[in-house]
Symmetry: C2
Subunit: 354 residues, 2 copies
């Protein structure tokens, strides 16, 4: 791919690596590429990060024809730069775009765009423990037209920001509210995609959970309001009686890259992983009878997020005395070890940016 480089005159000052937060500091550059009907993808460029002009009748502002991805670049102790399974993000965005009637692309194009931007921004990849460069590829319709239709022009952009540890005070369990009124996804809908609409629809659940003193919301399936699906914007796993349970990928749950990686590792470690429908009643029962040993969310941002308590209607169960479980900790250490290059990458998941 031929990528034009537009240099900026003055680079921004890099922020203090000990106070990066999440998404507070965007880097100097962004990758931009256009798609037009009859032409396809064209004009790949890396240019100074800055505002874009949008027509008020742009399809994205009205009908949300937009998808995104999220991944990270990690700096190893010896200064190398690693990406973690970027081809999985490429595949998923292709799937998302198909569902939203948006243009696809070769996986290579997606990965190359990211690699080239990361190369330009390599000085932005922090080296403090648990920090990384968060990378946000996104595609959105740019056509100005008010009819509801498949747009005829799009932009693919990649932006990035250095991020600190997701839990600056260390990884601590969170309290989760089981949402029994609002629904995140239903089969036949867009739950398996990373489209904007899924996230806008989820905010109210998060707001309600916080109002009840919880950190995140646990979503149940939209048909039976019974089976656990995701937690907040993460996949969720349970260790019950020594076995692992997580919702299957059947159209409602996001096929998480971290989810897939954790399942691989768990199977290699000899765990039985049940990708199956677990009812909230069985979950609460397991919590009460002591067989619910551990639970954790999985996602790119936090990697692993242990659950300390589930609140469902008037009932609640505490998991592992509200302490991070042994397996949860081991998974976190091992997977982040691979990501930051401290563990042997026996799965070939990391990809060095040279």
């Amino acid at each position: 791919m031929d990528i034009k480089f537009v240099k900026r005159d003055v680079l921004k000052e890099k922020p203090d690596q000990k106070n990066l937060g999440f998404g507070k500091y965007m880097t100097d550059y962004m990758f931009v590429m256009d798609w037009d009907q009859g032409i396809g993808w064209h004009d790949a460029r890396i240019e100074p990060y800055g505002p874009i002009e949008i027509n008020p009748s742009c399809v994205t502002l009205h009908y949300a024809q937009e998808t995104f991805e999220g991944l990270k670049a990690y700096r190893t102790k010896d200064g190398r730069i690693l990406l973690f399974r970027p081809e999985m993000n490429a595949k998923r965005m292709i799937t998302s775009n198909e569902r939203l009637c948006m243009p696809g692309f070769p996986e290579d194009m997606f990965v190359e765009a990211i690699e080239e931007l990361v190369k330009v921004e390599k000085d932005w990849i922090p080296s403090e423990p648990e920090t990384s460069l968060y990378i946000r590829p996104f595609v959105f319709a740019t056509e100005a037209s008010l009819g509801v239709h498949q747009a005829i022009s799009y932009k693919f952009m990649v932006i990035c920001c250095p991020v600190g540890a997701y839990y600056p005070e260390g990884i601590n369990p969170v309290k989760i509210l089981v949402e029994d009124e609002l629904v995140r996804a239903v089969q036949g809908g867009t739950g398996f995609t990373k489209c904007g609409g899924n996230y806008a629809a989820s905010i109210l659940g998060q707001v309600r959970a916080e109002a009840k003193g919880c950190t995140q919301v646990l979503w149940l399936d939209g048909v039976n309001r019974k089976y656990v699906e995701e937690v907040g914007t993460m996949n969720i796993m349970f260790k019950i009686n020594g076995e692992i349970y997580t919702a299957p990928i059947e159209g409602t749950v996001l096929p998480g890259v971290t989810r897939d990686s954790i399942i691989h590792i768990l199977k290699d470690w000899g765990y039985k992983v049940n990708e199956t429908h677990l009812s909230v009643d069985d979950l609460m029962k397991a919590g009460h009878d002591g067989t619910l040993e551990e639970s954790f969310g999985t996602g790119t941002a936090a990697v692993i997020s242990p659950v300390g308590e589930f609140v469902y209607k008037d009932d609640s169960v505490v998991v592992n005395d509200f302490k991070i479980g042994e397996l949860t900790q081991r998974l976190y250490d091992y997977l982040t070890g691979i990501q930051w290059g401290n563990e042997e990458d026996k799965y070939g998941w990391t990809r060095e940016v040279l």
Copy 2:
């Protein structure tokens, strides 16, 4: 409300009223107002229509925190300007914004913004038969921040464009595909709102319907995949054995302004209106045994859109010999008569812009 007016130097040339299409010509001006946490709505202004600047990390581009409305200004034969039930759009947008965790506003503010813009753009309201000025109010998050959260800044904008007859060759019945795999909405989701995500998710159904030689898609409910809900982006009604059937407003179906108006009129005309769950099996059965007398979609753009045929799996039924039904035609004539000021407005639905 104090509205600042920013004049443009040169007005655009008005398009030929006989070839307006839909959304092809935006007018000279737009209404813009900002909302910030801790301040509320501020800086109302009418300014030249033109592109807006958006940060690449703007919440709307990633998480689709965005809602919209649609209504029309009509020019009467004696030159007056009428709006049709704009307070209904205001109420619905307030409901949409609540679901999406976006700021509300007083109904008056919404209506005043529209009236003031329409006054400025009064020369854009066409006078040819069946033409009108389409008005698009919309609200979207403007905050630049990549975390999934309730944004802290928004824009409320109103843009408009003159539109021609929705069916330039006269109102003709359309062929509809019953979609049995994709789902538009489920209870607990956002189906009752006009949020962008609903529309992005619906495009694939429309594309598939067209690939099968149909004009629109008929959506079934997301839980049972059985009960008819909406057609394309319209509400849908059926006349079976002399009675009217339409899906109830229970969280999945958009509470359409045209739907509500038609129900009022039908009841006044002595029809029994059943706001109930009609199964697609009962619909096809009524089509086959001849009791399905008429069917039509209702919405702001087309007002009334007669259905000539339903295709469901390997089955299909033709409605009223693929001709517009007598009641459908009468409803269309009467309601558009009120909207363009040719019928007495006994319901007090129109609002003159003075």
